[in-house]
């Protein structure tokens, strides 16, 4: 049938629509190599889990468990009290959230609901600059400024490092994180909800508190969970301003110096070569790392769920 038809273009058939084989091969090659780069991330995850587990497993099998629940963190003396590190981490994270929660959320509400576009364009980049400041700088600031000017004069604590100084420093570090995720969540609330609320005669404050905040609650929850996870994993501020080096005795007072999980790892590794070969010192590093990884991983997964709920809603 088709051969009876006159084809004005000439030899036009299904064959002409197919790419030439050389080009098709090139396309496939590009697709596959791009796919390979995407697989690199899976490889990295596998390597992280492998490195943590293989060394931590040696620790778990060989350690005397009495030394994992003891008086403090003295890894070079064979005392690996994980409770000291976890409690210090929780104290720092708690203080950080007391600082970053209200400040970050307040900034986010202002930027999303109250600031005029011009003001927002000026204020937001400054907040983003704060987000880009390296944690060593905050560590220096916590030790040299927050400790003498806030911890000592307001809380009558030490002028040198303490968990409180470190916690405030970590809090400052997480303000932009809380602010930007919360602001995104509030911006995602449809304008129609605000207009409906105003149309019923609600004032701005009522609209914000009774409509926008409840509607964005999943996103706000996600912001807080991500911030908690970030604060748990923050190393340098606590390492520099936490008020303890190498070892720490158990404490639950924020005015004392102690080591968090992260700072414990950093100060243990700081002794360079001594890390390798001394009993289980090297392995204890990975055991603490595994505990930290499991905690932050769990929090991140939960936060991811909440973020997705926001996307599905609107």
């Amino acid at each position: 049938m088709s051969d009876t038809r006159v084809d004005p273009v000439g030899e036009f058939s299904v064959e002409s629509l197919k790419a030439n084989p050389r080009q098709a091969r090139k396309e496939r090659l590009i697709r596959d190599s791009l796919g390979a780069t995407a697989l690199v991330s899976v490889l990295i995850s596998a390597l992280i889990i492998w490195s943590l587990f293989s060394e931590a497993w040696t620790f778990i099998i060989e350690v005397d468990w009495g030394s994992v629940w003891d008086i403090g963190w003295f890894p070079r003396r064979g005392i690996y009290d994980i409770k000291t590190l976890i409690v210090a981490s929780l104290i720092v994270t708690g203080i950080a959230m007391i600082v970053a929660g209200p400040l970050g959320l307040g900034a986010a509400i202002f930027l999303s609901e109250y600031a005029r576009p011009g003001l927002r364009r000026t204020l937001k980049p400054i907040l983003e600059i704060l987000a880009g400041i390296p944690s060593v700088v905050l560590g220096f600031f916590a030790l040299e400024w927050i400790a003498p000017n806030v911890v000592k004069s307001i809380f009558a604590g030490p002028a040198a490092g303490s968990l409180l100084a470190a916690g405030i420093g970590v809090g400052v570090l997480t303000i932009p994180l809380v602010a930007s995720i919360s602001e995104d969540a509030m911006k995602a609330v449809p304008m129609a909800l605000r207009e409906a609320s105003s149309g019923l005669g609600a004032r701005k404050i009522t609209t914000t508190v009774r409509v926008v905040l409840p509607a964005s609650v999943s996103g706000l929850t996600a912001a807080f969970i991500v911030a908690i996870s970030r604060a748990l994993g923050e190393t340098m501020v606590v390492f520099m301003a936490g008020g303890a080096a190498q070892t720490a005795t158990y404490t639950h007072s924020a005015l004392d110096g102690s080591l968090t999980m992260t700072a414990g790892m950093a100060s243990l590794a700081r002794g360079t070569d001594a890390v390798v070969g001394e009993g289980l010192t090297f392995q204890s590093l990975f055991f603490v790392g595994l505990v930290l990884f499991v905690m932050t991983f769990g929090l991140n997964l939960v936060a991811d769920r909440f973020v997705h709920r926001v996307r599905e809603q609107y």
Partner: protein, 318 residues
């Protein structure tokens, strides 16, 4: 009927009162002011931080700026040869590793995820995996570097070397590169892609000629942000083993043998080092502040460039 009229009458009276009332909305005002205060507190902290660092750094940076940039690590803070040269070299090479390893892999992964990836469970797994990697604490990446590049592949990387540190930091920023590049690529309008297909472009030609140029500013913003994150990160370097104390050698910027030499320094680590030394020699606090200024100049310039570029293109495209 009469009742309805009464209600109507009362409603209109209430409405009239409400519209004529001039009392200020006190609660609303207080609320707005306290919100503004929280924002101003954050900005105030940023201001105090910068002023505090600048005051501490003033003596060193105005006294001998050249000497500080070309000097090396010393055991005394009043040594006229004290400076950050070794750390600058280390940070320069870390930046090279990040640019060479993390940028191509990250952008490639983003292109695949947005343009090629089938919509199935495996793709969703990869995306979830990347989001999770972005949330892994940096110190854990340090453990990976210690286990894999210092201990495992020490023969190739030279152990506690700049190569180990550079690869570790490239891995650390990879998820940020992927996520930001993905966002930029996702924003490319469908019409552009269809137009390219319409004139007979293959998939890759379409990506190269339409997607990448359109997404370029967004991708560049992401790479700048991840680079500034990479050069400011200290925790993994402590684990991968930037040396403490004095560094024997002072390699030049393009001394390739320094890459896998068993000793290196980097800007964020030298700050930690000097802050800790300030306990026995208070002059080191000023040296640390001066090093912070040097680091912040790079980091803030990169961040500001990224933010300005993003805002510029956002406005242009509406």
């Amino acid at each position: 009927m009469a009742k309805a009229r009464l209600v109507g009458h009362r409603t209109s009276k209430v409405m009239a009162q409400a519209m004529e009332r001039r009392t200020a909305d006190v609660r609303g005002r207080v609320f707005q002011m306290s919100l503004l205060t929280t924002l101003l507190i954050s900005l105030f902290i940023l201001g105090v931080l910068i002023v505090d660092v600048a005051i501490d750094a003033w003596g060193v940076l105005t006294g001998r700026p050249g000497g500080f940039l070309s000097g090396t690590m010393r055991s005394l803070s009043d040594d006229p040869k004290l400076g950050v040269h070794q750390a600058l070299v280390g940070t320069f090479w870390i930046a090279v590793f990040v640019a060479v390893l993390a940028f191509p892999v990250g952008i490639g992964a983003a292109i695949w995820l947005e343009e090629y990836a089938p919509k199935n469970r495996f793709t969703r797994f990869i995306e979830l995996n990347i989001r999770n990697l972005a949330g892994v604490p940096s110190v854990v990446y340090g453990l990976l570097g210690l286990f894999l590049f210092v201990e495992g592949l020490g023969g190739i990387t030279g152990g506690k070397s700049i190569a180990s540190a550079g690869i570790t930091l490239a891995i650390l920023v990879l998820p940020i590169v992927v996520i930001t590049a993905q966002e930029a690529i996702r924003a490319v309008p469908q019409e552009l892609k269809e137009g390219a297909y319409g004139v007979g472009a293959t998939k890759w030609t379409m990506i190269r000629s339409q997607v990448l140029p359109y997404a370029a500013p967004g991708v560049l913003t992401g790479t700048l942000l991840s680079m500034s994150r990479g050069i400011g990160e200290a925790a993994p370097l402590l684990l991968v083993g930037a040396v403490s104390g004095r560094l024997g050698t002072n390699p030049g910027f393009f001394d390739l043998s320094a890459i896998n030499a068993e000793a290196f320094m980097a800007m964020p680590v030298i700050i930690v080092e000097w802050v800790q030394s300030s306990g026995r020699d208070p002059g080191f606090a000023e040296a640390a502040a001066a090093a912070i200024v040097v680091l912040l100049v790079f980091v803030i310039l990169m961040n500001a460039a990224a933010i300005l570029m993003r805002n510029h293109f956002e406005k242009k495209r509406g």
